[in-house]
């Protein structure tokens, strides 16, 4: 298998952040892990764009550049710039939802919050094919 070095690290990071999401008991940590997962995807696309070379795509005349093939691909950069701003919007909404939950249950732990939700509202913990659903809270 012959993979580019810029492919391997983001994919590794994706799995690390996925591990972090499923094992963290703290919701703040889960939100941080979601941001890290998004960063890994952005890094993957920038890596794909940078395989030609790492010259920034800002120039006055393309003929004056020594190696025009070494210019990084501008299309993933433009799309990922948009994705970063959208990521902030997602993070803001995540934190706001967590604040609303914290106001109700006074905790940021998944398990404690789930116990309190079951106790307060009489919700039953759903068993969806072996996965304990946390969407009930």
């Amino acid at each position: 298998m012959d993979f580019h070095i810029l492919d391997i690290f983001p994919v590794l990071l994706f799995f690390i952040s996925f591990f972090g999401i499923i094992t963290s008991g703290n919701i703040v940590k889960s939100i941080v892990m979601v941001i890290i997962m998004q960063t890994s995807v952005i890094m993957f696309w920038l890596g794909v764009g940078a395989r030609f070379g790492t010259t920034p795509p800002i120039f006055e005349d393309i003929t004056e550049i020594a190696d025009p093939n070494a210019i990084a691909d501008p299309l993933p950069q433009a799309l990922m710039l948009t994705a970063i701003i959208i990521g902030v919007a997602v993070t803001a909404i995540n934190i706001t939802m967590l604040n609303a939950l914290f106001r109700k249950y006074k905790t940021v732990e998944w398990d404690t919050m789930q116990e309190l939700a079951v106790k307060d509202e009489g919700l039953e913990v759903q068993d969806l094919g072996g996965v304990t659903s946390e969407s009930t809270i």
Binding site: V28, A72, A78, V131, T132
Partner: protein, 324 residues
Amino acid sequence: MNNLIIVLLVFWIISSIWCVFAQKTYRVIIFFGVFSLLTAAIYLFLGAPDVAMAEAGISAFTTIFFIVCVEKYYSRGEGLKHEMATKTNKPRKITRYIFPFIFCVALLVLFLNFAPTGYVVTELRDQYLQMFMHDVGGLNAVTAIYLGYRVYDTLFEALLLVVAVVAVIHLSWYEKTAVSDGKHSEMERSRMAKFTMRIICPIILLFGTYLVLNGHISAGGGFLGGLAFASFIICRFLVLGIYDLPIEKAIRMEEIVFINIVILPILAIFTGIMYLAWDATEIFQNIYLIAMSGLIGMKVTLGFFVLFYRYIAIERLPEEGEGE
């Protein structure tokens, strides 16, 4: 590949592993800051200065978001005042990990089978790099793409920021906005920080103006200029403790700016005024690029202003005995 990038990537992975195995919430946030800084450095060395600047600014904002929230709310929760453990002691069901494990294996198989090896040749890249000065204008190919070729993406991104602001306002706790006097904020305001801010704030404003006006000929643009302006407003909140800005007008103004962001590309691109073979076309292109950068900068500034105003100035825990 440059050895420096590989060293940075290794530290990048190490910092993320720190973040996963950190036991306290503050440590998670600080390691996340380290991670984001390394990310911005790698973006820069990959030839993406615009994305690197955006990531650096955004990571600072996100870190402040988290620290403000932990400082103001989460540290007052049950059992969190002294020890904010992120690890639960309860044993978890093994079955809980089956679906994630299957998901990981499927992703790994997809990556091993379908990851592009070698060079990815796209004709679009060559066409953009050859033609963007003629088609859209400016010297920065990235700005030319997100303001010219793919302006739809920018429209929807602006729409998403509006939706996020609306969602944050409607999910916030208080219907009647009680603007705080800043006293409940537990952040110490030192005289030195105030003095430094008074010197730095004009420089931040100047830098933001430079970024907006030069977005089409160098790294920068509306997003980054807006971030600089927003950081100025947040400095006012956090360091100087000034909350006198009119939030209702800001929300109203954000809607107007969004309508302008929709109308301007329609007028400029769909009527074809940028593609006419006049001598004056270049002037039109530059006016369009600077106007769009300015509008996006205003949009981002107002969006972040409203978000931070909700977080820092308005939202607070109810005092003892105060009803919901």
